[in-house]
Symmetry: C2
């Protein structure tokens, strides 16, 4: 195996280190976050850091650097208090990646890409092509002092999911939905149908749960 | 599409809501976190919430509920200051899920499952079967006031990766590594080889980056 110590990691070439460290945490969610500016321009950007925080209340978080490309997203969330998180279909991966380009603030990525806005007034739009669409109300902006990134926390206000994706017990079949996974900074993956296991107990082998 | 409003979500049956809300954030990383207690017992537990926070310094975060099944992990990290994050191979998904059972504190999941410890003294062990093994030093414990979960932040101290997984530019091929993705509370997925795209620019279609 290749080993890297703390000093070695710090002295790696910048881009190599970014690729390496962004890869090792594992597969990431692939979501499009839509926001609306004060001027009424809709912004859309791909994020790989959306993370589940809790189901009751229903909370999602995501990580952002306020000074980087996602600044429009950050500004719009703080100003308007609302945003939508929309699952990125793997078949639209190139379009999804394109939303990470530094478009001018008066340009809507809905115009610059093939993603279609689905009106949700007075809130920011959903992405019409997404099989899972979530409206959130901004709750907290926690600054991570170690590197000045932010954990943005939102509460789910409403939710739209293709009917045939929701199982009897509430499980949503993301593989059937065609949702992408992301790895590293720039890789988009299709994911195969998964294996579900029963609640784990110490003296019992996990049993498969049939679904779908 | 099925629509759920805020009140509907709040009034869903508890387990249905947990499955639903845990699914919609997208695919998640699949990692085994190893810790060591004061008494010298090694603990191992699967986590789906490890998230990249930054590359320089190299920081990873994960979400935990201190009062739930993962309490041993939390106590050990706070007490010892160190932990390892190890990529879960998809072919060991049943064993990975088994680590989420409530084993007694004096039982090591390394004894109760097929995962083998790889010594890393004086730090907690790595998981021998993992293609990506990360040693972290605990940095911060941020309480998320909205639901009393915690974001645990650690800095990478050392890193071991199978040589043939690291590309020329530092990208790590998680699909080739056989790393699992998780969805919902209990689904484990194999992920197909991905498509990488060049840095996105407004007036340019993303180009594929060849790798592997």
């Amino acid at each position: 195996m290749n080993s890297f110590g703390q000093d070695e990691i710090a002295s790696l070439e910048k881009r190599f280190r970014a690729n390496l460290i962004n890869s090792i945490s594992g597969f990431k969610s692939a979501n499009l976050i839509a926001t609306r500016s004060k001027e009424g321009v809709d912004n859309l950007a791909v994020f790989s850091s959306v993370v589940h925080l809790g189901a009751h209340p229903p909370l999602l978080g995501f990580i952002m650097r306020p000074t980087s490309v996602e600044r429009h997203t950050y500004d719009n969330i703080i100003e308007s208090g609302f945003y939508t998180i929309n699952s990125l279909p793997a078949k639209m991966k190139a379009e999804g990646h394109k939303t990470s380009a530094k478009f001018a603030k008066n340009v809507s990525e809905f115009d610059a890409t093939e993603f279609k806005p689905e009106a949700n007034d007075p809130y920011p739009p959903f992405v019409a092509q997404s099989p899972i669409k979530i409206l959130l109300e901004f709750k907290s902006d926690m600054c991570i002092k170690e590197n000045d990134t932010h954990l943005i926390i939102g509460e789910i206000i409403s939710l739209k999911i293709d009917e045939d994706l929701i199982g009897e017990d509430g499980f949503v079949d993301l593989a059937k939905a065609g949702s992408a996974a992301i790895s590293g900074l720039d890789a988009y993956h299709q994911v195969l149908s998964g294996t579900r296991f029963s609640y784990a107990r110490p003296d019992e082998e996990p049993k498969e749960i049939k679904y779908g």
